[in-house]
Subunit: 74 residues, 2 copies
DNA sequence: GTGTGACTAGAAGTCCGTG
DNA sequence: GCACGGACTTCTAGTCACA
């Protein structure tokens, strides 16, 4: 976790999403967030709020702890 | 992670801060955030952004993964 | 040393569209 | 299915005076 944590976060979301074989649109629908916003997050352009982090984790059906339980955030 | 994740988050910050024996003011100084803002976070009144989550984790000298590595977020 | 309400600027987030 | 932009509304960031 150094500079550009947001891009790391976006990549993590993207990987998890693709691992489930769903589109940004589908993830957005599940999390009740706009598809273009999901796109921005995955590209590291959005400074996501905690509530939305929780929404996205839920949509990906994992816990917040699991979401960050990777070397990039350790 | 059920209702009021923000309050869980605030409590977590508070516990970590107190475990280090530092004041909100000191934590704020380390994270370069206002002490009243830290206060609001600990009380679950602020929907913190990811960038600030990272700043606070750094100020507490732990990783983001560790920050969420508790039952409340699992 | 902390809780709280209020405030403004600027970022978050939505909704329309394009290639 | 995704990146990206413009215009728009809603919310957070950041700070203050006061208790």
């Amino acid at each position: 976790m150094h500079q550009d944590a947001l891009q790391q976060f976006g990549l993590r979301i993207k990987q998890l999403r693709q691992a489930q074989g769903i589109s940004q649109e589908e993830l957005g629908a599940r999390a009740q967030l706009d598809r273009t916003y999901i796109s921005g997050i995955e590209r590291g352009k959005r400074n996501v709020s905690f509530k939305n982090i929780v929404l996205i984790a839920d949509a990906l059906q994992i816990s917040v702890a699991e979401l960050f339980n990777v070397p990039e955030f350790s």
